[in-house]
Subunit: 258 residues, 2 copies
């Protein structure tokens, strides 16, 4: 399976132009099966407050960014995971969707909000879910969720072979740590980080794909564009790591104080 | 606080000689407050079966390796964490103890057994615990426990600022992954790995200390000896990582399927 990571540099608030640019990057990437775009790829990240967020958030499904991506996924027969600011009954969520050729496969609302996001979004109220991608399952977590091992663990225990991880990273800790998320759960992780500056903050690119064996499948440069790599989700199915060890069966929840 | 990692290359089954060598390494290390020795440092690792393990395991407290280390800890006024094969009422455990100048502070029995260990030991039956080290708490996990995020997480939630991690590593995955264990829990991790060959298997040294900020405090070479570094356990006390984020208070157990 070919995975494209789209590193865009959204212009704050320019939803239509940002989605158009991301689609142009995917057009230029050649053939792939699944694209992963950054957190809040269509709006930009640094909302000042909930009012500014409300002005740019959209219903999922139904909003402008969603509709443009859904049409593109349908046209190309691909899947796309992308982070989009969501408005739902007056509440705002830092969300991400997984779209297939026939519509939405999954929606996730960020469960662990980072710093000023707490002033702009409600914490996610939907459970972590495994989306059927035809032959394998994928699950979504967003950016800061990475630091909570419970997030990736929950997705893996739900049967996800691939963790889709839209992000807006400004610190260097996450990309190497995702190697641990991959090996501890025996899954592929796909972290898509944005690039560029916004309201004085620099985002670091360097998106990464890790394999269940802690192999670095792809590390992107700090530059705009779509970067493609090949993964085989079936490699994540077995949790047997020695003749006597199965990573999930060896867990001993009765000994954990979580 | 000065921490010494002791990388020994035990001669299989030569308990008295192995402990003596480890003590000589600590003597040569100069001043320190806490030493961490490898898993099964006194016996060697590659037991063929439970019978061979039984012939070399000892009661904790009370056995030969324990007594020699306890006397040394008392003489120097230091703490020592070391992995020792334990016999208890006919059962065998891959255990580790934390000794202080006045005796045993904690005992841990490896909860996640690796590969052929399952034929030689019973799985640990004691809970993860936080040992009071006078001003901070420390907890023990052993080798393969590293790959289960629940192990370090449990110790951190119990209040441990320092995770003591005796190991016998043959693969390269653990030392970099411990950086994730450190930052996700905002703790220090001290992984003490052995060196040398035993029954055809090569152990890789490269013991590491990571800080709560994912700083590499120490990486040891693949060589015998004691290696000393300075850490400040108080740096692990606060889990506040931004003005609005506390790593533990931000956890959302109701959303985890663990």
């Amino acid at each position: 399976m070919r995975v494209a990571i789209v590193q865009n540099a959204p212009a704050f608030g320019q939803v239509r132009a940002n989605v158009k640019t991301a689609i142009e990057m995917m057009d230029a990437a050649g053939p792939f099966d699944l694209a992963v775009l950054p957190e809040l790829f269509s709006t930009g990240y640094l909302f000042r407050d909930a009012g500014e967020t409300a002005a740019l958030a959209e219903p999922l499904p139904g909003g402008q960014a969603f509709a443009m991506l859904a049409a593109y996924a349908s046209k190309r027969g691909i899947r796309i995971c992308a982070g989009i600011a969501e408005e739902a009954s007056g509440r705002l969520f830092n969300s991400a969707v997984l779209l297939g050729p026939s519509g939405m496969l999954a929606k996730y609302r960020k469960i662990h909000l980072f710093d000023t996001e707490k002033a702009c979004f409600s914490p996610g109220d939907l459970p972590f879910t495994a989306a059927d991608c035809g032959g394998f399952k994928a699950g979504i977590m967003i950016c800061f969720d990475w630091i909570f091992p419970e997030a990736a663990r929950t997705l893996a225990l739900l049967g996800c072979s691939v963790i889709l991880h839209p992000a807006n990273l400004v610190f260097p800790y996450c990309p190497p740590a995702m190697a641990t998320r991959a090996i501890e759960n025996r899954v592929f992780t796909v972290t898509a980080n944005r690039v560029g500056e916004e309201r004085g903050r620099k985002f670091s690119g360097g998106s990464v794909i890790w394999s269940p064996r802690m192999e670095n499948i792809l590390t992107c440069p700090d530059a705009e564009g779509a970067f493609v790599a090949e993964i085989e989700p079936a490699e994540a199915e077995s949790k047997n790591i020695t003749g006597r060890n199965n990573l999930f069966e060896d867990r001993r929840p009765e000994m954990y104080g979580l």
